[in-house]
């Protein structure tokens, strides 16, 4: 679709811009202001320049949290994307079953994030939780409050449980947009199931998959409430992710300056990754449809 060039369209965008700017720019400016000062109180603050940035970039605890975060995000992407595609492929296409499965599958997405943490905290407890109790009955020494590996595996399992539905739904809607004629053509050529997937379904899925990866990366990179409730970041700091280190610093210890500097670094990393993803999506859409794309 050819868009009309009209700068009066800004008038339509303006109300939205004011609202979002109020919520985004003013706090962002404040964070930048905090990051170059040592704020002790309303009237006691000292200019520290770039000192906090230097401290934060060299803080071993944060570097560890950052690495942990990257490992976590990549792991859940590696599990959720193939699993989501698989589920989308076997979901019923029509009838009441399709609706029923859709409703069931979206369920985890609609649970408040700290309730997700509570559900899993209960579920994995050795005394009253089905999974924790069951594993102990099987003779597995499973304890997420003492064993770091168990805590890690549980958090990954929880995230897979919580967010695979999103990937599955995205893929499902991508699959539904494939015209039936393609499948019929494949049947005539007696294409194998793998060939149908590789040459018909996967190309149609790339678009939604990029959205899925982008959304999942962003959300997993700011994961906070679920591990906070489930493990509290422990045992030790083995499941402390970036947002939690940040929240502990900002609220728990009231270290405004360092946490602000850390926020900015965190934000820049997210901005870089998101920009790369976004540019990729837009260029993919442009290649396919030279006039479109927003």
């Amino acid at each position: 679709m050819n868009k009309v060039h009209n700068n009066r369209a800004w008038l339509l965008v303006l109300p939205m811009l004011i609202l979002v700017a109020f919520s985004a720019i003013v706090p962002l400016m404040t964070v930048v202001n905090y990051s170059v000062q040592d704020v002790l109180g309303a009237n006691a603050r000292f200019f520290t320049g770039t000192e906090w940035f230097k401290t934060m970039l060299n803080d071993p605890g944060l570097q560890a949290a950052f690495l942990r975060q990257i490992v976590f995000s990549l792991t859940i992407l590696a599990i959720q994307v193939p699993l989501g595609i698989g589920i989308a492929l076997i979901m019923p296409k029509r009838g009441w079953q399709a609706s029923a499965v859709l409703i069931l599958i979206t369920l985890p997405l609609l649970i408040p994030w700290n309730v997700v943490g509570s559900i899993w905290q209960i579920f994995t407890r050795g005394d009253i939780g089905l999974m924790g109790w069951g594993l102990r009955q099987l003779g597995v020494d499973y304890n997420i409050t003492r064993n770091g590996t168990d805590a890690w595996l549980t958090i990954i399992l929880m995230d897979v449980w919580h967010w695979t539905p999103l990937v599955a739904m995205l893929c499902y809607s991508g699959l539904r947009s494939i015209p039936e004629a393609y499948y019929q053509a494949a049947r005539i050529d007696r294409a194998s199931k793998w060939a149908v997937f590789r040459y018909i379904q996967l190309p149609k899925l790339t678009n939604v998959l990029v959205i899925a990866v982008l959304l999942r990366f962003m959300h997993s990179f700011m994961i906070y409430a679920e591990p906070f409730v489930l493990t509290g970041g422990g045992p030790g700091s083995s499941t402390t992710f970036l947002s939690q280190s940040l929240a502990t610093m900002a609220i728990g210890q009231q270290d405004l300056g360092p946490s602000a500097a850390f926020s900015i670094i965190y934000f820049l990393v997210i901005l870089l990754v998101s920009w790369v993803f976004y540019t990729t999506i837009m260029h993919m859409q442009k290649d396919r449809n030279p006039q479109g794309g927003a």
């Binding site: 679709m1 009309v4 009209n6 369209a9 339509l12 965008v13 109300p15 939205m16 811009l17 609202l19 979002v20 919520s23 985004a24 706090p27 404040t30 964070v31 905090y34 698989g86 589920i87 492929l89 076997i90 499965v101 859709l102 409703i103 599958i105 979206t106 369920l107 609609l110 994030w113 700290n114 309730v115 559900i119 899993w120 209960i122 579920f123 005394d127 939780g129 089905l130 999974m131 539905p165 739904m169 499902y172 809607s173 991508g174 539904r176 004629a181 019929q184 053509a185 005539i188 007696r190 700011m222 906070y224 970036l242 947002s243 939690q244 946490s259 965190y266 934000f267 901005l271 927003a294």
Partner: protein, 298 residues
């Protein structure tokens, strides 16, 4: 590809003639693979429901039953936990608060996002692409980054501990999301419709309300579902911006751990109750939701 559509029936014939597998065998093979995929799906669904089932199971037991013995289903079903929540105003007000700010947020967001999405889908203007990307960055901003300034911002404008504060704060990520989804839906409406309406003498506001909005109503439904979802599940900001007057239910739930241990039954019942509104909402949009997840473009 359309010629293949016409050839389907011939293709079936061709298949029947040349295939070494008889149609009956093929049908059998199809049924078998269908059965296998149904089994796998069933298995996934069961595993997925299990933690939620467990929560439900616990919410129907008394604390002594929960801690007493391991049972797969509640042996003495009790609704005391639910009754306790619905008769205690400090509990049920949590639900009222949550629903209040979620509804406010949905209303504000959809009102400002509709015209903005229309602008993005129909016009090009200076800085449009960068504005769009900037909006998306807000979707990406970790709320933890903004906690303290938010607290101070809303405190200084006197909105701390009100529903509207949380509703406005959630606009940060909900408005960009709404614009993203709506823009996709609007772009799939042919532009000729706008032009015809203008020729017929419709003014922009009249056209927008009378013709355009009804045309994308399923898109608006899906958008509202997403707005509900993300505002309902977010608690970090909601918790920071409220103390007692507008506290969300998710925050009140943390009260269940008292000196005498955790009140598991009430915690589980409250958890189950937070899932219900979501089920209600997803039921209404079940037929459009798959489309919405592709964000309008497929």
């Amino acid at each position: 590809m359309s010629y293949q559509l016409d050839n389907v029936q011939q293709g079936e014939k061709y298949n029947n003639i040349f295939s070494r597998i008889t149609p009956a065998q093929r049908r059998k093979r199809n049924t078998r693979s269908r059965l296998r995929s149904r089994l796998l799906l069933g298995l996934y669904l069961v595993l997925m429901i299990l933690p939620i089932y467990w929560l439900l199971n616990m919410s129907l037991q008394t604390n002594s039953d929960i801690l007493g013995s391991m049972t797969m289903w509640p042996e003495n079903i009790t609704f005391d936990n639910y009754i306790g929540i619905f008769t205690n105003s400090s509990w049920y007000m949590g639900y009222v608060n949550s629903i209040a700010y979620v509804l406010m947020n949905m209303l504000i967001t959809i009102c400002v996002a509709l015209p903005a999405a229309y602008a993005f889908s129909r016009y090009s203007f200076i800085g449009d692409k960068h504005l769009f990307f900037w909006l998306l960055t807000n979707l990406m901003a970790p709320p933890a980054v903004f906690l303290l300034p938010y607290f101070q911002l809303y405190y200084s404008v006197g909105l701390f501990d009100t529903h509207i504060a949380v509703a406005l704060a959630h606009c940060l990520f909900n408005i960009p999301l709404a614009i993203w989804i709506l823009e996709g839906f609007m772009s799939s409406v042919p532009k000729e419709i706008d032009e015809t309406a203008y020729i017929d003498g419709y003014s922009f506001p009249k056209f927008f309300v009378k013709i355009f909005i009804p045309m994308i109503s399923s898109g608006i439904g899906v958008t509202l579902f997403f707005l509900f979802m993300f505002s309902w599940v977010e608690l970090l900001l909601a918790r920071t911006l409220t103390s007692t007057g507008a506290q969300p239910i998710g925050m009140i739930m943390t009260r269940t751990s008292t000196a005498s241990g955790i009140d598991w039954g009430t915690l589980a019942a409250a958890g189950v109750l937070t899932i219900l509104p979501g089920i209600l909402v997803v039921y209404f949009v079940r037929n459009h939701i798959a489309k919405g997840f592709a964000l309008g473009r497929t």
